[in-house]
Amino acid sequence: MSQLSQPSDESPEPAVLDEQLVAYLDGELSPEESRRVESLLASDPAVRRRLQGLDCSWQALDELERVPLDNQFTRTTMEMVALAATEDLERNRREKPRQRRRRWLLAGLSLGLAAACGFVVVWFAWPDPDRQLLQDLPLLQRLDEYRQVDDIEFLKMLAREGLFDEDRTQH
């Protein structure tokens, strides 16, 4: 907040005062700030002189020479833009088949990737009855022999002795 923004008996710093005066001239102050500036202007001739100085030098900028541009500038600008637009169109036309090829290739790759992902997901997630059968095949092949032995502990002992190792390696 500037010093002028706060009610004060002391005069604000010249730089702060000028900043507020400029903003006042530009209509960029709030109504409250404008009122403070106006009351300062009404009471202090030095502030009025500062404001006048700022305003006069600002008005003097109207003296700057303004050389109007003729139709030639408009015409050359439009020609330049038309040429650029034609070049853009030509470039787009040239790029189109390449872009189309790139799009098809990208679509094909995406499709292949999606198919591979789908296969992997289905392979792991879908229960396959044949997989279990294959796993149990050695047991099924010798099921009749195993049934003749009533004691499971005896079977485990035979397994530890290596009786079934030959079968396992065969499978």
């Binding site: 030098s57 003097a60 003296e63 600008t77 833009v81 038309a82 650029a84």
Partner: protein
């Protein structure tokens, strides 16, 4: 601008006609060269045309235009190595003869005696006063004075905060006042004052 966005060449031509003089004037004061200013203005219009699809309805066209112009002018000055900013801080400098403005004045018209208020001379004085500002101050002044832009719009063009613009414009106008007031009140040029 909406018609331009939809591809109307006639609308774009109207836009060029409406803004070309204003744009060239601002650019000329920024780069200090009429031909370069015209080239840059054409480049600005070309960029506007190419970017027309990105124009957002409701956005202020002049703000967009002068943002492009500001960027182009800055890069043109950088690339051509003619970025010699003449900063004149009147509060911190000594007598007139030590200030850059005197050099500008002497370069343009030699030792100027106190003389009658003259329109051409006045124009030269104002031109030199404007030239003595930093580039940022000058751009803020030009946008505020000739484009009637508020602080918020200037801030958008210059990528600053409105508060910074307020301070920038204040310093610029203090400098202008300090340079021009002696001339406006007594017809004294800074050079005459120092001699």
């Amino acid at each position: 601008m909406l018609e331009v966005r939809d591809g109307s060449g006639a609308a774009f031509e109207r836009l060029v006609q409406r803004f070309q003089s204003r744009l060239v004037m601002v650019l000329e004061h920024l780069v200090g060269n009429r031909d370069l200013a015209e080239d840059l203005a054409q480049e600005v219009f070309l960029r506007v045309y190419r970017a027309r699809q990105t124009y957002v309805p409701g956005a202020k066209f002049s703000t967009w235009l002068f943002t492009i112009a500001n960027n182009l002018a800055a890069s043109a000055l950088r690339s051509k190595g003619r970025h010699h900013e003449v900063h004149l801080d009147l509060q911190d400098t000594g007598p007139w003869k030590a200030r850059p403005l005197e050099a500008l004045l002497q370069a343009s018209s030699g030792q100027m005696p106190a003389r009658q208020f003259d329109k051409a001379e006045m124009r030269d004085m104002v031109h030199l006063a404007l030239k003595s500002l930093s580039e940022r101050q000058r751009l803020a002044v030009l946008l505020n004075k000739f484009e009637g832009m508020c602080y918020a719009d200037i801030a958008e063009v210059m990528e600053l905060t409105p508060k910074a613009v307020k301070s920038l414009l204040s310093r610029a106008r203090m400098n202008l006042r300090d340079i021009l007031q002696p001339y406006l009140e007594h017809g004294e040029s800074p050079a005459a004052e120092s001699s």
